[in-house]
């Protein structure tokens, strides 16, 4: 797809976690004025390497309160639980693997939940299902997740499944694992062509608040589960067609290698896996070699993913002065409205 550029220069980032400004606070660039009319672009194209479509999306829309989430020292998330929910085995590793690895390194206990059976990719349908099942476990391991779950809904056909049933299963898992935070595809990502993505992330989102409801699936409580309100969400875009609102850019520079390893582990589908060794073998047949790919298959697979598939995340990071980055629509815990009201009353109440 031909990507248009709305801005001639990098986008501006507003602030960073801990109050550290992360971008150059650049003023708006000069804009084209079709027909002489002034307009403000609402979608921003960012540079792409052109190596793979499955990296960063065509466009981003940036919120005015964009923050850069930088690595944190110690284990600030100790005791918290995250669930990375992916329709297919390659979604989390490609689009948010760096952030998952980062959050786990910072103390989260992580779980990986795959919704489809990935039957659509593989030598035969059966081979595809088996390989992707293995991959899901290996990806979880590479990212540091404690466990991987698979729901095995049929690949590319999830719009034929009952969303309420998928949601019910996610509510069960959120309650069982006491999930605080999810990472998944943005349910409001425009130009989403894959029905599995739409169904899975809608179910994941609705399950977040329903998991807290005492009247949704009360039989769970008789089974010993507790309600849980999933209060933090990291929504990522899909690619290549994609366009979501971004209010958080995560610095994954220190986690690019775990992200690469997670993608190498994903052999059954997607652009990564053993693509490096395949290219190396193909070149050898032609009497050539790429020094980048090294002298063995493992080195070739790692180098291929890092050089060709992570480059767009490097280019995204570059916009914010970071080595590598992933972009999210982040939804955090609700403000304490009762506290705000109490403060107002304390400040303004007068004696009778």
């Amino acid at each position: 797809m031909e990507r248009r550029s709305f801005l001639g220069r990098s986008v501006a980032a507003a602030s960073a976690l801990g109050g550290v400004p992360a971008a150059d606070d650049a003023p708006p660039a000069e804009l084209p004025r079709p027909g002489g009319a002034r307009f403000t672009p609402t979608a921003f194209a960012i540079p792409h390497s052109g190596y793979s479509p499955f990296t960063t999306p065509d466009y981003y829309t940036f919120a005015s309160d964009l923050v850069i989430e930088r690595p944190r020292t110690g284990k600030p998330h100790q005791g918290k639980v995250l669930a990375a929910i992916q329709p297919h085995s390659d979604d989390v590793p490609l689009y948010c693997g760096g952030t998952v690895a980062k959050l786990i390194d910072e103390g989260y206990t992580g779980y990986l939940i795959r919704i489809s059976n990935d039957e659509g990719s593989g030598r035969t349908l059966g081979h595809g299902v088996v390989q992707n099942e293995i991959d899901n476990h290996e990806v979880a391991k590479a990212l540091g997740c404690q466990k991987a779950f698979s729901f095995y809904y049929r690949n590319h056909r999830m719009d034929d499944d009952a969303e309420i049933e998928i949601r019910a299963r996610l509510i069960f898992l959120y309650r069982l694992l006491q999930v605080d935070t999810i990472l998944t595809m943005d349910p409001y990502n425009h130009y989403e062509e894959n029905p599995d993505h739409l169904v899975a992330c809608r179910a994941a989102e609705a399950a977040c608040w329903m998991a807290a409801g005492a009247k949704d699936y009360p039989e769970h409580f008789k089974a010993g589960l507790q309600p849980i309100h999933v209060r933090e969400k990291y929504y990522h875009a899909r690619s290549p067609q994609g366009h979501n609102l971004v209010n958080r850019v995560v610095d994954i520079s220190a986690y690019i290698d775990p992200k690469v390893r997670a993608n190498v582990a994903n052999k059954g589908k997607g652009p990564a896996g053993e693509a490096g060794s395949r290219l190396r073998q193909q070149l050898a047949k032609e009497g050539r070699r790429l020094p980048l790919l090294g002298d063995d298959d493992d080195t070739a697979n790692f180098a291929y993913v890092k050089h060709f598939l992570m480059d767009d995340f490097r280019l995204l990071g570059e916009q914010f002065g970071l080595g590598y980055a992933e972009a999210f629509r982040y939804i955090g815990p609700e403000p304490n409205y009762a506290e705000g009201l109490r403060k107002y009353v304390d400040e303004h109440a007068v004696r009778l």
């Binding site: 299963r169 069960f172 898992l173």
Partner: protein
């Protein structure tokens, strides 16, 4: 009717101690009418009983839709207590609209409950029974039947295992005789449990005519008349009305077998034999090496 009808009589003692049954019905008054006697009997004989109502009964009652949901909910608890059920589950699917719900979702919920309670036996609608006009009945029966065997499969909803809830197949089924012409192969003598059945039915006031006796008594009083049958208070009137007018089917089902009251069921027993035919063959024919 099948050719091999069995009469299930009361058993002395508590032969079912340690076993669990779940009665799954769609509406407040289904179970008490079709299997109130059987439920009371099984509990008396040692079973622990749980009752699951799948609909919200919003269409039945004298109030608004919202008021009907509440009154049926409250009466369901009272009806279950009258029969001795240990706990009540209400799934609250919309009454008369269950044909539109996701079959796999309701089945998933039943599988969780069957596993969690370690249900050995169910009482529910016959999903293959003819003449069933109510979609809530056949959706419930179908989901129950499928959940019975799937709850024994480790690969169905494996997340339950993560919660420590083990697979547990349901091996015995009593399918209700809910419409004329449906099959039955078991006639259960409920004569000794008819008072409990009446206790349960009189709690079904939003539907099921549980308070028909007191309503008739009040109507007659306005006309300056009374029926001695209905006794001196509303409770006595309701019980007498049920006994006199609403248990004709039970009397009819018992009559051919010399029973005062009976309920009909299509019973399915899938408990494995203590020894398989292969075990028996090996025992008989194996030789030392």
């Amino acid at each position: 009717m099948t050719s091999d009808i069995i009469i299930e009589k009361d058993q002395p003692g508590q032969p079912h101690r340690g076993k669990v049954f779940a009665a799954i019905h769609a509406h407040l008054d289904d179970l008490p009418y079709y299997a109130g006697g059987l439920s009371a009997k099984l509990i008396r004989e040692g079973y622990t009983g749980y009752i699951i109502r799948t609909s919200n009964d919003e269409k039945c009652g004298r109030g608004t839709i919202a008021e009907n949901i509440l009154s049926n909910q409250q009466e369901h608890f009272k009806m279950a207590a009258a029969l001795g059920f240990k706990d009540v589950f209400d799934l609250y699917y919309r009454n008369h609209l269950m044909g539109g719900i996701s079959p796999v979702e309701i089945r998933g919920r039943l599988i969780l409950i069957f596993r969690m309670l370690k249900v050995d036996t169910i009482i529910s609608f016959n999903p293959w029974g003819h003449g069933e006009e109510n979609p809530d009945h056949w959706v419930t029966g179908r989901a129950v039947e499928e959940a019975c065997w799937m709850s024994g499969m480790a690969n169905d909803f494996p997340e339950h295992l993560e919660a420590g809830i083990k697979p547990h197949p349901v091996r015995e089924r009593y399918y209700l005789y809910a419409r004329p012409g449906q099959p039955f192969n078991r006639v259960v003598d409920v004569g000794a449990h008819i008072e409990k059945k009446i206790d349960a039915i009189v709690e079904c006031r939003s539907q099921g005519d549980g308070n028909a006796g007191s309503l008739l008594r009040a109507r007659l009083a306005k006309q300056g008349r009374r029926l001695p049958l209905l006794g001196g208070d509303d409770r006595a009137a309701d019980r007498a009305y049920v006994r006199q007018f609403l248990l004709d089917d039970d009397r009819e089902y018992g009559r051919p077998h010399g029973l005062e009251y009976a309920e009909r069921f299509y019973y399915i027993d899938q408990r494995p034999p203590a020894k398989s035919r292969v075990d028996e063959f090996v025992e008989k024919n194996a030789l030392p090496l």
